[in-house]
């Protein structure tokens, strides 16, 4: 029983905070709002030198052999700094997928390049059905000799416009069970037939519509078993969801700290505004919500990392609570700051907008709660 950060994790946290305060100040975040790439390749390279892209990769691939909990410690700090860019798509989707399901050739070929900051990857899952389950996957992969032909349209693919490889979730076989017949392909983003329309969220993130127009993909680029990849995809989504929880908690923590400081410093009616319970109790509620979020987020991270059955409940619980928390904390932070918190140049609105984007990614909090109940019903039914 051990539910505290170990020394290495605390060190990682400290280094990450210092580095990001220095290299990813809000001026950088604002610059990236209108940047075409949406991130700084230079900063990306420096992060690789700190070992961040390789944090979860075994040493043989140039990584430092950390686990997903270590990664979550780091991502919490990225959330605090509002770091933009394809870190989660590359490291959490790309890295975990290749590590867990790649052939040893692919591992040897790609993982060291990820660790060195040479590659950017992403996951193309959602389609116009706007569903998050296997039934939403309609993009087709047709087997043909030594390759597959992929067609369909994927939407909301993060940072596909700068990706070297896109992990495409396709239906390679029709079946009465929607979760059967799903394959995962590692697709060269420069390949023929791929076109990409980039959209920008109000917090400066890039989400792309990726059109797969008869894209030819070699069988060597299959990740995992053909037709049987839904569990792997689900695992990737679980990892991604928890990573977003960490971003949310890191961001909420920062918005809360700013609010507490403002509550102490801002004088109205001759005393700090925090002396008013309307402000003080808002801050207290932020604190409770954020700390609770941290508890369930780390629990979910551990459960996903260990692959224990508890993960199926822990992930939607964490996603729902952490995203609710981030939204509430950021909105209340605007209220605590008053008018100044409503201006473009203040940092709080950046957190507020980020909270909304995270909330809607992979299903909002209502959706997560519905998943929680379904899972609990299943557990209670099976005793």
């Amino acid at each position: 029983m051990e539910f505290t950060l170990n020394e290495e994790q605390q060190m990682l946290k400290g280094i990450a905070r210092d580095f990001l305060e220095n290299r990813c100040p809000k001026a950088h975040v604002r610059d990236m709002l209108t940047d075409e790439k949406g991130y700084s390749p230079e900063l990306w390279q420096d992060m690789a030198e700190l070992g961040w892209q390789g944090l979860m990769l075994p040493e043989e691939y140039g990584g430092t052999g950390g686990d997903f909990v270590d990664m979550v410690v780091l991502i919490e700090e990225m959330g605090r700094a509002l770091l933009p860019g394809p870190f989660i798509p590359t490291v959490v989707y790309g890295g975990v997928a290749i590590l867990q399901a790649g052939t040893s050739e692919k591992k040897n070929e790609l993982l060291p390049r990820i660790a060195q900051g040479e590659l950017s990857l992403t996951l193309a899952l959602q389609e116009s059905s706007e569903r998050f389950d296997a039934e939403g996957v309609a993009a087709e992969a047709v087997e043909k000799e030594d390759h597959y032909i992929l067609s369909g349209t994927k939407i909301l693919v993060p940072y596909a416009h700068v990706a070297d490889y896109i992990l495409c979730v396709c239906r390679s076989r029709s079946s009465s069970d929607a979760e059967d017949g799903i394959s995962l392909f590692l697709v060269d983003a420069e390949g023929e037939g791929i076109s990409c329309i980039t959209r920008t969220t109000f917090d400066g993130r890039k989400l792309c519509d990726v059109k797969l127009g008869e894209v030819k993909v070699s069988k060597a680029n299959l990740l995992g078993e053909p037709h049987g990849c839904w569990p792997l995809v689900k695992r990737l989504v679980d990892h991604g969801s928890v990573a977003m929880c960490a971003e949310a908690i890191g961001g909420a923590q920062m918005a809360m700290e700013m609010s507490i400081s403002y509550a102490k410093e801002r004088i109205q009616f001759g005393r700090p505004i925090g002396t008013n319970q309307a402000i003080k109790h808002k801050c207290a509620n932020m604190f409770v919500d954020v700390e609770c979020g941290r508890s369930i987020m780390y629990w979910a991270a551990w459960a996903v990392d260990e692959g224990v059955p508890e993960a199926s409940l822990a992930v939607p619980m964490a996603k729902s609570w952490c995203c609710d928390t981030y939204r509430r904390v950021a909105a209340d932070s605007i209220q605590v700051h008053g008018g100044i918190g409503f201006t473009w140049d203040h940092d709080i609105p950046l957190y507020f907008k980020r909270a909304k984007t995270l909330e809607y990614t992979f299903g909002d909090c209502d959706y997560q709660r519905e998943i929680v109940v379904r899972e609990l019903e299943r557990q209670l039914a099976s005793g």
Binding site: R199, F202, L207, A278, G338, G339, T343, D345, F352, K353
Partner: protein, 390 residues
């Protein structure tokens, strides 16, 4: 109790409707909001105000001698209702008609009324305001912009923030400090009517989190305001200002506007899929839709109550004390619901309907801050209405 309109009222309503049909270009009905806070939007509003003014429908209830319409309160309400139903644009001189005019009519000298009121109504002089300061937000009485008497002038120095529409303003409602030592502080404040062309005024737009600039910072450097442009007595400006705030009632037009937004959200829910099914089939969305509908309806009914009390010559009823508190929080729930229905589309930059909802969603966060934060308004209800000690 009777919620019906009289035949005379209905006749006036028909008159308004017919006039709108002839005078409001169809595209204007939605164009203004899409234009955002911009010069184009302002010019549209100005043109609209001129047409209304020609018909005598700006300041419909104001005395005819100053250019008003001399109409009844009931007619004013019907006019607002019909304007809202037709989605007519706002007028340009929002602050002039909504705040400056009523204040001058209540507290101004005969000369001031003759000088200012007609041009407020015609839109010849656009008004803005300069109340808040960096250290005087909720604590408005703490304002420091200093006015020192110099013969027939006040010489003003200081900084204002949240000055609505100062970028378009010809004249400004200005609160200044004339006595820096008196306690309580609100006894040393004077109310001035400032010409925005006076040398020494610098206006800097303040960009909001929406990207628009409704508000401004205003820097005052030895600005000379004639003493004749003082409203009320020296050092008694606080009482004038408190009178001003009382004019900021949410009216029937606003209630109807919200009802229209609600209908839009219903249509949005019907056509937008959420997790694979139309949002309107989702029970939790339905519950929230219903709650918003109930709140919109309550807002309408509260407006009727106010109106009914006013028609009987009564003072403001209890429901007026929380009108702004109520709609500001309701609007946040409504726009958040719309955003939730749209999901990720509501956070992506672009054009079209989703963009409009994104704007409304972000803008609504200011509602609980501007014109008295929700916290301050709850204090006011607790203390002034319910009599609980400070």
């Amino acid at each position: 109790m009777d919620f019906r309109y009289s035949p005379e009222d209905e006749a006036f309503r028909k008159e308004v409707r017919d006039w709108i049909k002839e005078n409001l270009p169809e595209s204007w009905a939605t164009e203004q909001e899409a234009l955002g806070i911009s010069e184009d939007s302002f010019q549209m509003a100005l043109e609209w105000q001129k047409r209304l003014y020609k018909r005598g429908w700006v300041g419909l209830t104001w005395p005819k001698e100053y250019g008003g319409g001399g109409g009844t309160l009931m007619q004013q309400v019907i006019l607002s209702e019909e304007m809202a139903k037709a989605r007519a644009p706002g007028i340009a001189n929002t602050l002039g008609v909504g705040m400056a005019g009523p204040t001058i009519l209540s507290f101004g000298t005969e000369e001031q009324k003759k000088q200012f009121i007609p041009k407020i109504l015609s839109g010849e002089e656009i008004w803005c305001q300069g109340f808040s300061e960096p250290d005087a937000g909720s604590d408005l009485a703490n304002l420091k912009a200093r006015a020192i008497r110099d013969g027939d002038y006040y010489v003003v120095n200081g900084q204002k923030v949240w000055s609505t529409f100062a970028q378009y303003g010809d004249r400004c409602l200005l609160l200044v400090r004339t006595d820096p030592d008196v306690l309580p502080k609100h006894r040393g404040i004077t109310y001035l009517l400032m010409d925005m062309k006076t040398p020494g005024i610098e206006v800097k737009p303040l960009k909001q989190m929406t990207g628009d600039s409704e508000f401004n910072e205003m820097f005052l450097d030895n600005v000379r305001v004639p003493v004749s442009n003082r409203l009320g007595e020296e050092n008694r400006g606080w009482y004038v200002a408190m009178g001003t705030l009382a004019f900021e009632r949410a009216g029937m037009g606003q209630a109807i506007m919200f009802k229209q937004v609600l209908n839009e959200i219903f249509r949005l829910a019907a056509k937008t899929k959420r997790n694979g099914i139309p949002a309107i089939k989702d029970s939790t969305i339905r519950q929230r839709l219903a709650q918003c509908a109930i709140e919109c309806e309550i807002m309408r009914l509260n407006s009727y109550r106010s109106l009914s009390t006013s028609l009987k010559g009564g003072g403001p009823g209890p429901e007026e004390m929380f009108s702004k508190l109520f709609w500001s929080e309701m609007n946040q729930r409504m726009t958040e619901l719309a955003a939730q229905i749209l999901g990720i589309d509501s956070v992506i930059e672009g054009e079209g309907e989703a963009q409009l909802w994104q704007y409304r969603f972000l803008r609504s966060r200011g509602n609980t801050l501007e014109q008295g934060s929700s916290e301050i308004l709850r204090n006011v209800i607790g203390e002034r209405v319910l009599g609980i000690p400070r």
